[in-house]
Amino acid sequence: MHLNVTLISEGSYPTGKGGVSEWCHSLISGMNDVRFNVFSMSSENGLRYKLPSNVEKVVVEHLHSPDFKHGIDEKFAGELIGELKPALSGTPLECEEILRLSKRREFTAEELLGSDVNWNNAIAYYKNNFDGKAFAPFYVFWTSLFYLLYKTLESVGKVPDSDIYHTLNAGYAGLLGCLSKLDKGGSLIVTEHGLYLKERSFELSDSGIPTWLHGMYEKFFESLVRTSYKYSNTVTSVCRDHTRFQREIEPNLNEIKVIYNGIDTEKFHPPNPSTSKDREYFNIGTVTRITPIKDILTFIRSAKHILKKHRAKFYVVGEVEDEEYFDECKKLRKELGLESHVKFTGFQDSLEWYQKLDVFALPSLSEGLPLTILESLSCRVPCIATGVGGVPEILGEKFLVDKWDPEGVAKKVSWLLDNPEERIKAGVEGRKLVESKFSLQRMIREYSELYEEMI
């Protein structure tokens, strides 16, 4: 009898690309004896991966602009929505009661959103907390938060039955995991790749949403995260650094298991010795989605400094996730006169690129345990990165830089370019480190053991 696991994702696998999606794909591919289902809440259409043969069922709950439908039984809506009120104060939700009420009749997220109760609650909350402030941004904000929450409740029945529900973050996906566990039985594992709350805070700072609404947003997601922790059998983190923050959020959290991400060291191998890197210029690159949290702007600014001393070309390998930010990047590249030096390649086979690079740089503002650093090290390409999240658990101090520090990035990249012996040594040691501590086999083994413990 095979073990059956449902992975619950939010905006990632299998409809999106990125570190979490790659991790998920590797996990499934590496556990042939486990049958997987995938439930994904996503605003994207279409699968971006060829699913492994041990995936039995894929359900994508497609998210679109909120719609409002009228005519729901207001008494029912009142009781159900009433149970969601703690979300606004940062306290965990009572999932047993939410589940009991949601089972009483069929409903859709759109009906809950169009109910009088939803409108009246919004008005009451506004008057109590923000009276005198602009109402329009508040109500749009309210709708964005609650639409997805209602969508999560609506989705419970669509999650395939499993022995284990494994969520890839602690937000809406985490809540769906809690409700599915209570609804169908089984265990719940919550894996946090990035820290959901930190990432939401970053999202806020970049959104232009009025600051007086930030507290409401943070409380809302704190509630979802704490709910996920409360109902989970185990919370796993991809690095030690994150566990401190997780305990700050939920001091009563029993156990946080650290399972480092792993990569396929056979796939990500150093270039063939016959492939010479002797060129007239150095190749510096980053492999990442183009989105503000990855701070591509710092990468571009650092190029300007590096070019003062070295002949080099710079590559940003990865798909555009945020068009506005991409425009900002192109604008900066033009302003700095770097159009012939900095290239955006779009989504491409990352292995080919790692093998062409002399130095890999990742100036992200927030990270979990970035697969791209492991992949580049595995290809014996040394890395310079910001010391965020689990990065210091991979790289030593001399390879770390501060956030928003293009000069720092340039200085450390230049040091590696100036010292070929150090560069080669860093690459060789990096490969050894990945093989011993961050291999895919080790990660698969640890998750397999965890799954075994859960049943």
């Binding site: 939010e10 905006g11 990632s12 999106g16 990125g18 570190g19 979490v20 809440m41 996503s42 605003s43 998210l63 602009s65 909120p66 719609d67 409002f68 169009g114 409108w119 008005i123 506004y126 008057k127 009276d131 005198g132 402030k133 602009a134 109402f135 329009a136 941004p137 109500y139 749009v140 904000f141 709708t143 964005s144 997805l148 890839l168 973050n169 937000g171 809406y172 790749h193 990035g194 990432e199 939401r200 999202e203 970049d206 959104s207 232009g208 949403i209 989605r289 996730e321 945020d322």
Partner: protein, 218 residues
Amino acid sequence: MTAITLPLKKMPGQTTRLPTFFGGRKITAPAILLFTLPFTLYLYLQMSQGTILSYSLIGLLPYLWGLVSIAVYIKKSSRAMERMMEADLDEAEEIFMESRGYFRKIMRANIVFSLIVTDIFSYYFITKGGKPLFITGLISVASLGIAMSSIMRMGDMKSTVNYFIITYLFEHVFLICVFKGPVWLPLAFPVSSVLMMGMILRRINDYDLRSFFERVIN
């Protein structure tokens, strides 16, 4: 990670949709112009230049009127939307009521205008000018109707097509009645038009701040 919460960045006023209170699309006016062009050409082939000029002017009046009133409305509602983004709940209610009042006035004026053109001018020109002129009136009134419908229904193609079909059926029945039916029968049309106007204005009255936000967000 890629978050599903990112759509939060899209606030009203930052969207590509025209920030009008009751919707509206930039494409409406040129589309109507494109639509009426073949009929205008048809008229040129059928009639003398002097006649066509005067008839066309009369026939296109509702279209021009509709275009001007819609343009003014969009401009006004854009300003109202800017104010709305800053307004607290009470102010938002006031701005909404003000805009709704203005919208009602525009609708009333347009409907009355269409009514006059459809039911009185058309009757007069059919008996005096014949089919080509009637077609001009028909198209211009339908165009106006489509434009207004597009605004009310946020440029929803299905609604616009429905409105288009209904308008044409209505006009054809009217045409048959004028040529074949008893003399008093066409009078039923002004009456039904008045009733329709009442229904539309009532619908506007039912439209409140909550419905407004629901439309903006959707």
